[in-house]
């Protein structure tokens, strides 16, 4: 009977724990997701900020998978370079140790107070969606989590050593390979190595799960977490795939190091990992928490020692998507701002990447590519703005360079709007009704495509003849376009016909404007 009560209590506690951790993660994501993103975007270049932000995120969100996907969206949006996302993820893994350590401490008093305060507050506070309410919901989730741990602990206490569960735990604990595999398998199920570790703390604390075996459960759980991330990101591509593979690789590195230490300790008798953990932590529960911490530290150490080879390997295995590569400047770099002449030349070269993408976007309008180009033009504008600097610095630029700068900024803006217009045109083309309307849409597309190719040629080789050619072919088309509209007056989907022809006119006008700026830019030299 005691054994049944023990199992039921453990199981009930597990349910409370899972609910608590899920709700905590969701609430903290709502509360802290945006401030976290802002802080990382603003200060992500500083290693100290990365370490703190990652650790805090991991401690609060308790979901490295959730953090992985936040980081992927930030990398895809160009807010964070991959070189910052990777250590940030590792620090987040480190931050998840906080809950594991808390789980090894007696928190009954704190749990009851937290439960009472948050539960009562939420009952009395009727306003939905406020920050205060969200904070209380997070506190309640934390309380449920701790209460679940308490129930699991008391459930485990009820289990007699002769019970089946206790016997199974004894077998697991005394066989390192089985312990490792159990840790891996449970984590594949829970998708969280910290959860697996916390589950192992209670039986370990009362001796049901012998410590050396329990340590292998934790290490197996760490590897399981890496596998779990890779499985979840199986369909991922580009940066997302790089990050999930990074999770798996660093977890594997940590596991290899720790297993090597344990094996060496076992074979040689030297005081290494197990002895070290026993020396610093009292009680099997806390010792398990330190093993978990050691897994994260080993992964961090492995990364900092092998950062470059790891990044090269991941770039080779999971190359960035075209849209991601587009957003990354190839020519401009911050240090070049000091020499205005070189910087302006670099910015001009960078702009040819935008003109080069116009015709492909016309043929295959792609949201991701367009977002990439948008970010690239923002980067170019930011770079040009850095050259301009303050009012005083601008006055220090020679007149010729100042004119070039103004011209390039104007061209950048025209290209940004032109690219968006071409993208909208491409989308509208897909919505044209079949028949004559579709035939005319194709004619517009081929005509515009030729104009854009000539614009690209002029951008790459801004000779007078090329620029003059673009000016000629981008002259006013209103007569031709009006004639088309009259022919299609009875076509289905008039709105799309009108929109497409208007976008065509706008695009041609923008190319004309671009050619004029190119011409003026050549005159400034």
């Amino acid at each position: 009977m005691n054994a049944l009560l023990g199992v039921a209590s453990f199981f009930g506690g597990l349910g409370l724990f899972f609910t608590g951790i899920r709700n905590l993660s969701a609430t903290m994501l709502q509360l802290g997701g945006r401030p976290l993103r802002k802080a990382i975007a603003a200060h992500g270049g500083r290693p100290g900020v990365v370490a703190i932000a990652g650790t805090v995120a991991g401690a609060l969100l308790q979901s490295t998978n959730g953090i992985t996907f936040i980081l992927v969206s930030m990398v895809s949006a160009g807010l964070l370079p991959m070189a910052t996302a990777m250590p940030l993820l590792l620090w987040a893994n480190f931050g998840t140790s906080a809950l594991v350590i808390l789980a090894s401490i007696d928190l009954r008093l704190v749990t009851m107070v937290l439960l009472g305060v948050s539960g009562t507050w939420l009952f009395l506070d009727r306003k939905a969606g406020t920050t205060r309410r969200q904070a209380m919901e997070a506190a309640l989730a934390l309380a449920m989590l701790f209460l679940g741990l308490e129930l699991m602990h008391s459930g485990t206490m009820e289990l007699e050593t002769g019970a089946a569960v206790a016997e199974v735990m004894g077998i697991v604990g005394s066989s390192p390979p089985i312990a490792f595999l159990v840790g891996l398998a449970v984590t594949l199920f829970t998708q969280s190595s910290s959860t697996t570790t916390i589950i192992a703390v209670s039986p370990s604390q009362i001796g049901l799960l012998p410590f050396p075996g329990a340590a292998l459960v934790v290490i197996g759980a760490s590897l399981g977490s890496g596998f779990s991330a890779i499985l979840m990101g199986a369909s991922a591509r580009g940066s997302q795939r790089q990050l999930v593979l990074f999770q798996g690789l660093t977890k594997l590195m940590g596991v290899v190091v720790l297993v090597a230490l344990i094996v060496a300790e076992d074979v040689t008798g030297w005081p290494l990992l197990i002895a070290g953990v026993r020396a610093v932590a009292e009680g099997p529960g806390r010792q398990l928490a330190f093993i978990y911490l050691a897994c994260q530290v080993a992964a961090l150490a492995g990364y900092f020692l092998l950062a470059r080879p790891i990044r090269r390997l991941l770039t080779a295995v999971a190359p960035p998507l075209p849209a991601e590569s587009l957003a990354v400047p190839q020519f401009i770099y911050d240090a070049a701002v000091g020499d205005a002449d070189i910087a302006l030349t670099l910015a001009e070269k960078e702009q040819t990447r935008v003109t080069g993408q116009l015709a492909p976007t016309l043929e295959n309008p792609d949201h991701a590519i367009t977002s990439g180009i948008e970010r690239l033009t923002e980067e170019i504008e930011r770079f040009l703005g850095s050259i301009a600097g303050s009012g005083e610095d601008t006055a220090a630029l020679p007149r010729g360079e100042l004119d070039r700068l103004v011209n390039l900024r104007a061209r950048n803006e025209v290209l940004r709007v032109l690219h968006d217009t071409v993208f909208q045109f491409g989308l509208a083309r897909g919505k044209m009704p079949p028949g004559e309307a579709a035939t005319l849409a194709d004619a517009l597309t081929q005509g515009l495509g030729a104009v854009l190719m000539c614009a690209d040629d002029a951008a790459r080789e801004p000779e007078a003849a090329n620029i003059e050619l673009v000016r000629q072919i981008s002259s006013d088309r209103s007569t031709v376009v009006d004639a088309m509209r009259r022919r299609l007056v009875k076509a289905a989907n008039q709105e799309t016909v009108y929109r497409m022809t208007s976008l065509f006119e706008r695009a041609v006008w923008l190319v004309q404007r671009y050619a004029m700026l190119l011409q003026a830019g050549q005159a400034d030299r």
């Binding site: 005509g447 030729a450 104009v451 050619l469």
Partner: protein, 103 residues
Amino acid sequence: MTETILMPAGRLDTAAAPGFERELIAATASGCDRLLIDLANLVYVSSAGLRIFLVAAKRLRAGGGRIALCGLQPQVAEVFDISGFAAILPVYADRETALAALR
């Protein structure tokens, strides 16, 4: 004065463009300085095709040569109008008129 007449047929799209471009390059490389492209049998032209005409015109003009196009079918003529290429490439109604202009 060396005259060459090319008469592409069917569709001049992304797939067919490389083949026709090779013909044009061969024609301009062989010393031709008067090139007539008769489009009477061409039913479709894409931006890739237009680009080839432009490249051929540039190559000929660089060598002091001349180019003319003729016999545009209505749908091809429309693409020339829309793209603005009708303003930069000499287009004639028929072969006789085009040859007379070239000579």
